[in-house]
């Protein structure tokens, strides 16, 4: 299993991407690339939480939404600069992940998935109804918040690139570390890991908080980029679903899987979505079914290990 090849390729691509905006890249491509970077970031976060531990998080969008709202509120109500606000968005997400992760990560399998889904949906409903219920104007309910106008797309291109490199880099570091082995041990046989002296709950919660922090940060960045957010937009369950599908397509629990999966699906979306909106989603459905049945380790996973799906 050679790890040198993909790593060198990734670094080369990143270096090329650093200078391409100066070589007459069209505005459309800059926007598309920034979108891809941020999807790789989100998918990478989901992969850190779920790919390594096998705990499928269906509420990952909750942290993205929290980050968006913290950033939007700080920028509009407190006139805090963008970078500080987005960082605060990440920190608040990470902080909320602790009390949410501690009880839910004790649950197994489907129960964890449902509990996290319930968490994200509850956040959405609370933001939608809070103002009306306590009669204030703070979260602005379904009307959403308009952020100050942001800088041009090049800015988000570089922010996105930085976040992507950070998330992929951290995944790479985790994978080779003792922490990474603990996480994979949890996925393969949690009881055995526990018996071997791994503090499984601590390891799971740490991975969960790392993922939540970056999701919050990305939420803040995208809120500023879009300049307008509503609870329906930033807590959309479809965002979680995209993260799951992109990870699955690229290869769950691998370092470069999210990069491959997110790039492929974002480009497919770009090509199909405008002219054939339903076809795109139907194709995604068939891709999922096909991958699960034919290559459950995803593109990267299938390439690096020629094994079949492990039967229990």
């Amino acid at each position: 299993m050679s790890r040198r090849g993909p790593k060198a390729l990734f670094i080369t691509i990143v270096l090329v991407l650093l200078i391409t905006p100066y070589s007459g890249m069209s505005g459309y491509l800059i926007r598309l690339f920034a979108t891809i970077f941020l999807w790789i970031g989100k998918t990478g976060c989901w992969n850190i939480i779920s790919g390594h531990t096998g705990y499928i998080d269906f509420g990952a969008v909750g942290y993205y939404g929290i980050g968006s709202y913290v950033t939007a509120l700080l920028m509009t109500k407190g006139h805090v600069p963008f970078l500080v606000s987005a960082l605060a968005g990440g920190l608040v997400s990470g902080l909320i992940a602790l009390p949410i992760g501690l009880p839910t990560l004790r649950l197994r399998g489907a129960y964890f998935g449902i509990a996290t889904l319930a968490f994200a949906e509850a956040m959405k409903q609370i933001l939608l109804e809070f103002d009306k219920t306590v009669e204030v104007n703070f979260f602005e309910g379904p009307h959403g918040i308009t952020l100050p106008m942001g800088p041009p797309n090049e800015f988000f291109y570089y922010i996105g690139l930085a976040i992507m490199v950070a998330v992929v880099g951290i995944t790479y570091r985790i994978r080779g570390s003792k922490f990474g082995y603990a996480l994979r041990a949890i996925r393969e046989a949690e009881l055995a890991a526990e018996l071997s002296g791994v503090d499984t709950l601590k390891a799971k919660v740490e991975a969960y908080i790392i993922g939540a922090f970056f999701l919050g940060l990305i939420g803040g960045v995208e809120a500023y980029w879009l300049t307008y957010i509503t609870p329906h937009m930033v807590f959309d369950v479809f965002i979680t679903i995209q993260m799951v599908v992109m990870s699955l397509l690229g290869g769950i629990g691998t370092v470069f899987g999210p990069v491959v999966g997110a790039s492929f699906l974002t480009i497919l979306y770009e090509l199909l979505h405008r002219d054939f909106p339903y076809t795109y989603t139907i194709i995604v459905g068939f891709i999922i079914v096909g991958i699960v049945l034919l290559m459950p380790k995803g593109i990267v996973g299938t390439r690096t290990t020629k094994g079949r799906v492990r039967k229990i």
């Binding site: 489907a110 998935g113 949906e121 049945l293 229990i312």
Partner: protein, 289 residues
């Protein structure tokens, strides 16, 4: 007082509707451990079967029930037999990602073919109510409630009294042992999924007479079914009734005394707390992994 009784009754009737489409979810999870994300799409298909039969041939919605039960049985049987059976031994996350793929395919194909229009099945008795001492009981909802009780009771009897039912229970308890006893577990899985799909289709047909029918209606039904089944206990069929009632009454009382919008938030907070505190469900008979 009247207001309280009325909203309590509304909650119970709503709970019956919830139970009617959640029992199948519980059955499928209990026997195969499959969390079926396209559950709501089976409700949608049942509702659309009734809608088309009613619109094209003017068949009474309640008379379309056998037809939607049979169609959904065949559909569920085939999906399990030829697709889900292939991953039923893989880790559980594989099965929910797979069923999620089906959710996308079914919901968006339906959207493509039937468009996003909101449709209704309006019969002569759609708006009719019984008025008992000032408390209003809508007929259609009441009939659904009774049918939900019949479906859950029937399923319970089928599982406990029939040959197939005993085979299903044996497979759920210990599939290797069931296999050794000569049970064809893949066939049992297919029958179980078919049965779960059939009762879900029945629920879809019934609720089409008072809820809006459209291709993307499915996901909220899946989420509610999750909640109901977790509240009642995963895999414990009568638990669907308990879970449905609790959820229905909580939502109805929240909507009456606090705000309609908050009932959604309450649902999820209740679910979240329930999972942490009592994952085996309110009567404690659910499966805990």
């Amino acid at each position: 007082m009247l207001l309280f009784l009325q909203s309590l009754l509304n909650g119970i009737l709503l709970g019956g509707i919830y139970a009617s489409y959640s029992a199948g979810f519980s059955l499928i999870f209990g026997v195969m451990g499959v969390v079926n994300i396209f559950h709501g799409e089976m409700v949608m298909l049942g509702a659309f079967i009734t809608y088309w039969m009613f619109t094209l041939f003017h068949i009474d919605p309640f008379l379309t029930i056998p037809f939607s039960a049979l169609s959904l049985f065949i559909f569920g049987y085939l999906v399990q037999r030829f697709v889900i059976n292939r991953v039923v031994e893989a880790p559980p996350m594989i099965s929910y990602i797979l069923t999620f793929g089906f959710h996308l395919i079914i919901a968006y194909t339906a959207l493509w073919v039937w468009t996003a229009d909101f449709r209704t099945v309006t019969t002569g008795y759609s708006g009719l109510n019984a008025d008992i001492g000032g408390i209003i009981i809508p007929y259609a909802r009441f009939v659904t409630f009774v049918l939900a009780l019949i479906v859950v009771a029937g399923l319970y009897l089928l599982l406990n009294r029939s040959e197939v039912g005993r085979a299903i229970q044996a497979t759920a308890q210990d599939k290797e042992m069931a296999r050794l006893m000569g049970v064809n577990i893949h066939r049992i899985y297919a029958i179980t999924f078919g049965m779960g799909a059939a009762i879900t289709g029945i629920a879809g047909s019934m609720l089409s007479t008072y809820f809006i029918v459209f291709p993307q209606m499915g996901l909220p039904y899946t989420i509610i079914a999750f909640c109901v089944v977790v509240l009642g206990g995963m895999g414990y069929i009568p638990g669907a009734l308990w879970g449905g009632m609790i959820l229905g009454v909580v939502q109805s009382l929240t909507a009456t005394y606090l705000s309609a919008g908050l009932s959604g938030a309450f649902t999820f907070i209740l679910l979240f707390i329930m999972l942490i505190v009592r994952p085996a469900g309110i009567v404690g008979k659910g499966i805990v992994e």
